[in-house]
């Protein structure tokens, strides 16, 4: 529903306050939270144990971040940019292979494992919302460059502020990602498993470097706002497209 409403907002040029989309995502978030709690209680563990749960947790984290940022009225349009991504994540999560029947033992357990998984998935949420802000930036910048009336008609924030928001979300995501990776590095390693050659570890470090590079280029090398925004969107798209594949290849994460 939120995705459909977002299409309506796009077509209308973001002229009306986006409280409807905010409320839709708030209701969805509440239902999702209840469902996650029920699942957690039924398995007696934090529900981030397989790809299905990890995928839906990313969506949950993304909406949580949006609900906080969206308290500021002019940033509510982030929802219109995040909804299609959420919809895509939701559809992907429904693939049966991602949620295999449970074995007698949980795949992962322990507080450090939960911290590792939760921090990294929250970081993905922040990166996702950063990509949505970058999408808003590119849309608004395009409209301003090409003298579209909707650039002034829309209720979206100024592009300079959108760029700041996108970079802060990426920074927040990078901090969470760092904490998550650090927690992962402290986990006991199964015997006969290579750590530094594990595809998921290599991929995670690569993603960490990509986000770090984006911030460094912007901060110290005056990279243009447009390139930064494209970089944030491209990085998140790459993250989404390769997340599941590297998980399946990883012996650490998919024994």
């Amino acid at each position: 529903m939120s995705t459909v409403y977002s299409v309506f907002l796009w077509r209308k040029g973001f002229r009306k306050d986006d409280h409807v989309n905010y409320l839709l995502l708030l209701v969805a978030f509440a239902l999702h939270t209840v469902a996650m709690f029920q699942r957690g209680f039924s398995f007696n563990q934090c529900p981030v144990n397989n790809l299905y749960e990890a995928t839906t947790f990313i969506a949950w984290a993304l909406v949580a971040a949006y609900l906080v940022v969206g308290l500021l009225p002019r940033l509510r349009f982030l929802g219109a940019f995040a909804s299609p991504v959420l919809f895509a994540i939701g559809v992907f999560a429904l693939m049966p292979a991602l949620d295999p029947p449970r074995g007698p033992q949980p795949e992962f357990s322990g507080a450090l494992t939960s911290l590792h998984a939760a921090m990294i998935l929250l970081a993905y949420g922040a990166f996702g919302l950063g990509a949505a802000a970058a999408g808003m930036f590119l849309t608004q910048q395009h409209d301003l460059k090409f003298h579209k009336l909707r650039a002034v008609l829309s209720l979206m924030p100024p592009i300079q502020r959108l760029e700041i928001i996108a970079s802060r979300l990426v920074l927040a995501g990078l901090v969470l990602f760092t904490i998550g990776l650090d927690a992962g590095g402290r986990l006991p390693r199964p015997e006969h498993t290579a750590y530094w050659t594990d595809p998921k570890v290599v991929w995670s470090i690569f993603m960490w470097l990509v986000y770090l590079a984006l911030l460094v280029l912007r901060r110290f090398f005056r990279q243009s706002s447009r390139r930064f925004a494209i970089g944030v969107i491209a990085a998140f798209a790459f993250l989404l497209l390769t997340f599941w594949g590297t998980n399946l290849l990883s012996t650490l994460h998919h024994p």
């Binding site: 608004q140 003298h147 002034v152």
Partner: protein, 373 residues
Amino acid sequence: MNIFVIGLSHHSAPVELRERFAFAEAKIPEALKSLRESGIAAEAVILSTCNRVEIYAATPLEPARAFAELKKYLARWGEILSSPNQNTTKSGLEGLSPHPNGLGDTLYTLAEPQSLHHLFKVACGMDSMVLGETEILGQLKQAYALAHHHGHTGARLNKAFQRAFHVAKHIRTETNIQRGSVSVASVAVELAEKIFSSLGDREVLVIGAGETSEKTARALLSRGARSIIVANRSHDRAVALAKEFGGRAVQFDDWAGEFQKIDIAISSTSAPHHILDRAKLELLMKARQQRPLLLIDIAVPRDIDPEVNFLENVYLYNIDDLQAIADDYLKQRKEEIARCEAIIAEKVKGLLETRSPMSLLIDFPPVPSLNKS
């Protein structure tokens, strides 16, 4: 007791006539007092702006008599106000009779429900010269507050005016009648607000001190721009303008040197060729570390090469671009008129319904824009 409106506005009367009837704010309490003491009205509010002079009166008199008395009263005041010892502008008054019959078609009179409809339209800026402008609401509030403060309003007008203010707020939030800017200067300000996080720490460079660039700079300053730098071929003119803005003047040949500091440039020189092209701006953008730059080119022929718009973080608007946005806004406002009319008709009906159950039977005819007397 019904509410009547009598007055003249930019729709019906030229400025020479409007200024003759304009009430100075200090005179309004006295005028209201005499209106009530004469027995014409039990309650009254006088709205006197540069575009309209209107009396809103609640009176038990029959409409025909009420209008006749109000016309006489207004004509009498017009005569008093335009007498030499009142220091009122006299230009263009020759030949205009203070007698009501001499006012011809310039006075309009409205009885309920049209009078309430008119009041609501005025409050919403729908009867203004610039459709949807909001200044009139402040002026109406001020006129009402003045009358209320001096005890010249009662239940009828209090309710009608409060409802009018409520309707104006409702229309502002529910429709696009007041959205956007309809002048080149305000469109430029709006664009700046879409680019920069805040105008508070922005520096503006004015190259060529034309009338529109002056207005645009003034509008930016009023919205919080930090300072204005003026470069003009006549340095004296630049200094005078900079002084007016509280900014500083630079020699015309040195304007490019200011690009490192500024965020917005308004150009309106009479140069026959581009004074700023892509190659030149590319170098300047490097010097200003690619910070966003808004360029407003209101010169004809244009001062800035359109190619510069392809540069990263440069936003160029010429006079046609700004005018097109202003026109689109106006068009959009006009498209909202039907919606606003429907809301107003509903609100007028609602107001009348609260007065008497019999009024539920009123079937409103289409409301004409103005009833000319």
